[in-house]
Subunit: 213 residues, 2 copies
């Protein structure tokens, strides 16, 4: 399947030209992000919790303490919405009305499932570590059975949802182009700083891991 | 009031030592962000939509097309959750279990209200423009009545909610400090690139606006 399901929920009504249901587009955005915003419903009220996440094939995964409320609510079979947004630029227009931002976002709807099997759980965590720190998993102290037990891993199919992407400069009213007002884009980027060790490295320790963010 | 309301919804259960209900902390995090993730409920299902937002006093505001579904749902008096998260660092530990991230986040619960009065709406948009581009409002082509009509501005009291902050290095198991595995933090920052004009500047146009992000 190369497209996500277009449902009443997932079909963009506003600015439909910026929406995409293309799986490649959705995957690329998901792979470029690290923090997702997971919505769920508690007593009829919406709750949004940030979490790190990762993608494997046609699924997204996230994890946390098995005591966390969000995870406990969702592992019981409740509907979720997972949203990821990457800010690419401020779009500066000649009027307040046309100011905007360039961004890439994905909104997914679904019902998460819990990864129960300890070996599968370990493989999921491995995929997460390798996604952020390629090659690091095997260098780490192995995960214990106790730690696996204390960790909940949730998955959700990438099935119902959409991507939205804005690129390019401002779109001003025709008459406004005559005004001597600066307009254009100001790029926004996320950058990594120099690694700072924790001051407790054992003798013979190598360098900081490579990060893919 | 110097603290946010602690309710069943807003009281952190997990890692309560990282939670704060202090208004100054909450305001400082809100003022450092630009994109919020707004949760609402549609047909019993959670929906999370990213939006730019700003703070004025004890309220947060966001806006958009008066046709947007999220705004139409919320202006009708539905409960919302507004979440803002700033990623500060990757926390690299000696085991997968203790890896983490340093972050500052705010989760607010409430029922948004619509800013109806056109003059008040204009003042809110002014505050938003000035928050991101200090001094720019007066240089822009003035907002028209038609544009104000096409824009919905929602506000929500900063009342029920909490902040969560993680700082510092990894917290590894005692025995793991003897292992020759690199551990520490890798800072993550958001930076602005050099402004790129849209190639249609009128003669006599000055420089790109100052940005406060």
């Amino acid at each position: 399947m190369t497209e996500l399901r277009k449902t009443r929920m997932s079909t963009a009504r506003r600015l439909a030209r910026r929406a995409s249901y293309d799986r490649e587009t959705v995957h690329a955005i998901l792979d470029a992000g690290l923090i997702a915003h997971v919505g769920h419903v508690v007593d009829g009220r919406p709750v949004v919790i940030p979490t790190a996440y990762w993608r494997e094939g046609d699924h997204v995964y996230w994890h946390g303490s098995s005591k966390a409320r969000m995870l406990r609510t969702l592992e019981a079979g409740a509907p979720a919405c997972l949203e990821v947004t990457l800010l690419d630029a401020l779009v500066v227009a000649r009027s307040a009305f046309h100011k905007s931002v360039n961004f890439r976002s994905v909104v997914l709807f679904g019902t998460p499932f819990k990864v129960e099997d300890p070996d599968e759980k370990r493989e999921k965590l491995r995929a997460f570590v390798e996604r952020v720190y390629p090659g690091r998993w095997d260098a780490l102290r192995p995960v214990t059975r106790q730690e696996l037990k204390a960790t909940t891993v949730l998955g959700m199919a990438i099935d119902e949802g959409s991507a939205k992407v804005r690129t390019g400069g401002p779109v001003d009213d025709d008459a406004d182009y005559a005004l001597p007002i600066w307009a254009g884009t100001i790029p926004v980027r996320t950058v990594l700083g120099r690694p700072v060790d924790d001051g407790r490295l054992a003798p013979g320790t190598g360098r900081a891991p490579r990060v893919r963010l």
